[in-house]
């Protein structure tokens, strides 16, 4: 479904991605693990077209998208929950969700998806008229995920969904990601620094270090790999 081939992305003179290749199959949950500054966010921003790749190729369902505009990429079915949630602070919770459905015109379906979101996260229903900026961190993460889901994506990109959340809240968010994957058949590509939960949920994973992929494999194998344990699981 998603395939990156030798993707290189730079900020000015700095090469943040030094030619990475990876792929995600339909229906999969794939994790990208790496420490600070490894290039995880850059990878997602290159896929979304915000920070276009300097060289290499990105395919979505075999169509090249490395030169496609961000809005067209969303229209093709890729939504991102960016690092730091990026809720529109002065828009209400409902308006944030409606922004998620910006490109859709199937109003009855949008209504249904909104109900589905409110069922997943009842707190968002209670807060629907409140400015997004007034939500707690955990609530903002729920809203950010929900906003991305309102686009009805085929591929959901998540950048550190557990960042700044309590263990309890992290478990809630992860259980819902699992539900979305099975109930909606949404493919998930997720970036984490906090590798344990991500590897538990995922089918496969890649390890990114200094802008290069250094390991890949089944998530359960990586979970028991000595190097991964030492570097990312704090064991």
């Amino acid at each position: 479904m998603l395939r990156l081939v030798d993707v290189e992305t730079c900020y000015g003179g700095i090469r943040a991605l030094k030619g990475i290749s990876l792929s995600v199959a339909p229906g999969e949950i794939v994790a990208l693990i790496g420490s600070n500054g490894a290039g995880k966010s850059t990878t997602l921003m290159s896929i979304s077209g915000i920070t276009p790749a300097r060289s290499g190729r990105i395919f979505f369902n075999d169509e090249p998208i490395e030169k496609t505009d961000p809005d067209k990429i969303v229209a093709m079915g890729i939504s991102q929950v960016p690092e730091g949630r990026r809720i529109f602070p002065k828009l209400s919770v409902l308006e944030n969700l409606e922004m998620g459905a910006f490109l859709r015109k199937d109003h009855p379906e949008i209504r249904k998806d909104l109900d589905y979101i409110y069922e997943l996260f009842p707190i968002l229903y209670q807060r629907r008229h409140q400015p997004g900026g007034t939500l707690s961190g955990g609530e903002q993460q729920m809203l950010a995920i929900s906003r991305a889901l309102m686009a009805k994506p085929r591929l959901l990109l998540l950048d550190e969904p557990s960042l700044g959340l309590s263990p309890l809240m992290t478990r809630l968010i992860y259980s819902i990601l699992g539900r979305i994957n099975t109930e909606q058949r949404t493919t998930i590509f997720l970036v984490e620094q906090n590798a344990f939960m991500a590897l538990k949920l995922s089918h496969r994973a890649y390890v990114l270090e200094n802008g290069a992929v250094t390991m890949e494999g089944n998530a359960s194998d990586l979970l028991h790999h000595e190097d991964v344990k030492k570097a990312y699981l704090g064991i």
């Binding site: 505009d69 961000p70 990026r86 529109f88 602070p89 002065k90 308006e95 922004m99 998620g100 910006f102």
Partner: protein
């Protein structure tokens, strides 16, 4: 008391026009963090367009209300097209450049448009016909409010309410607000930022054109320099209210209009512009975020 009332009305009239133009500055700033210095020129071009169209129509024997509507609509469309084109030519190619470059480009555009109109038309003042309608109703209230003051205040209020509703309740308005708050995130929800920017310029220019028409009719004469004057006052109003804030631009316009009106009325009319610029300087020193600016409004 009567004198006070006259000054108050005069201030509201002026202030409404400042507010209409200030909205264009503030909307563009909200989305691009750019001061569109050519914005005042759009207002001037609208006034000239209306004058030309009105003269042609009058020569054709048309009169009254139909002239106003036709000249108004054409001037607004023409100004909107100008705003759209200015953005494409002067700002879009510099989208990735440092912040100084589009600013210089804006000033260049402003000078170019002024000189273009001066050469194509004249540097003298031209008489502008009073296009504003007459009616028995307006006559009946003329004891306490002049007909053109009344029309300007009512029209501006209606236009500003319409803009607020558009921003609050339409999908495009919501996307514009989202883009102003976080451009990259708006792109990640599928908003085409180029399209939003174009529409912002179109709407801002149309508002300035409405202001230009109203005030030209009210004052009765125009020249190539009116855009610069009105532009800098409206810019002051936008800064006063808090640049980037829509209600701020409306409030800033009214406050500035009233301040100028009372200042000239009670102190001295020689200092009209001094009041505006004193306010601008004081605001920049004491409260650079303006009355409704970000720091007092936004928590995060």
């Amino acid at each position: 008391m009567n004198y006070f009332w006259d000054l108050f009305l005069g201030g509201l009239t002026r202030g409404s026009i400042y507010a209409l133009i200030a909205l264009g500055y503030t909307m563009v700033y909200g989305i691009l963090q750019l001061i569109n210095f050519a914005h005042g020129e759009i207002y001037m071009i609208a006034a000239f367009t209306a004058l030309i169209v009105a003269s042609i129509l009058t020569m054709q024997g048309l009169t009254g209300f139909s002239v106003l509507i036709l000249a108004g609509v054409i001037a607004i469309l023409y100004a909107a097209a100008y705003g759209f084109t200015v953005e494409k030519i002067a700002y879009k190619p510099l989208r990735q450049a440092s912040r100084l470059s589009p600013l210089i480009s804006a000033i260049g555009m402003s000078i170019f448009l002024q000189n273009y109109v001066m050469l194509a038309q004249t540097s003298d003042f031209l008489p502008f016909p009073n296009l504003l309608p007459q009616s028995e109703f307006l006559d009946s209230i003329s004891a306490w409010i002049g007909p053109s003051d009344f029309i300007i205040i009512v029209t501006s209020s209606v236009v500003m309410i319409a803009l607020s509703l558009l921003l609050k309740f339409t999908k495009m308005g919501r996307a514009m607000r989202a883009t102003a708050q976080d451009r990259e995130m708006a792109m990640l929800t599928g908003v085409s930022v180029n399209r939003i920017i174009s529409r912002t310029f179109i709407i801002g220019s149309a508002l300035a054109a409405i202001g230009g028409l109203l005030i030209a009719s009210h004052v009765g004469r125009i020249n190539f320099y009116i855009g610069f004057n009105a532009g800098i006052k409206a810019f002051t109003a936008a800064v006063l209210g808090g640049i980037g804030s829509i209600p701020g631009a409306m409030l800033g316009g009214l406050v500035l209009g009233l301040a100028e009106s009372f200042g000239t009325g009670y102190i001295s009319s020689d200092y009209e512009s001094v009041f505006a610029f004193t306010i601008l300087i004081l605001i920049l020193i004491l409260k650079p975020d303006g009355i409704l600016g970000r720091s007092s409004q936004q928590k995060v």
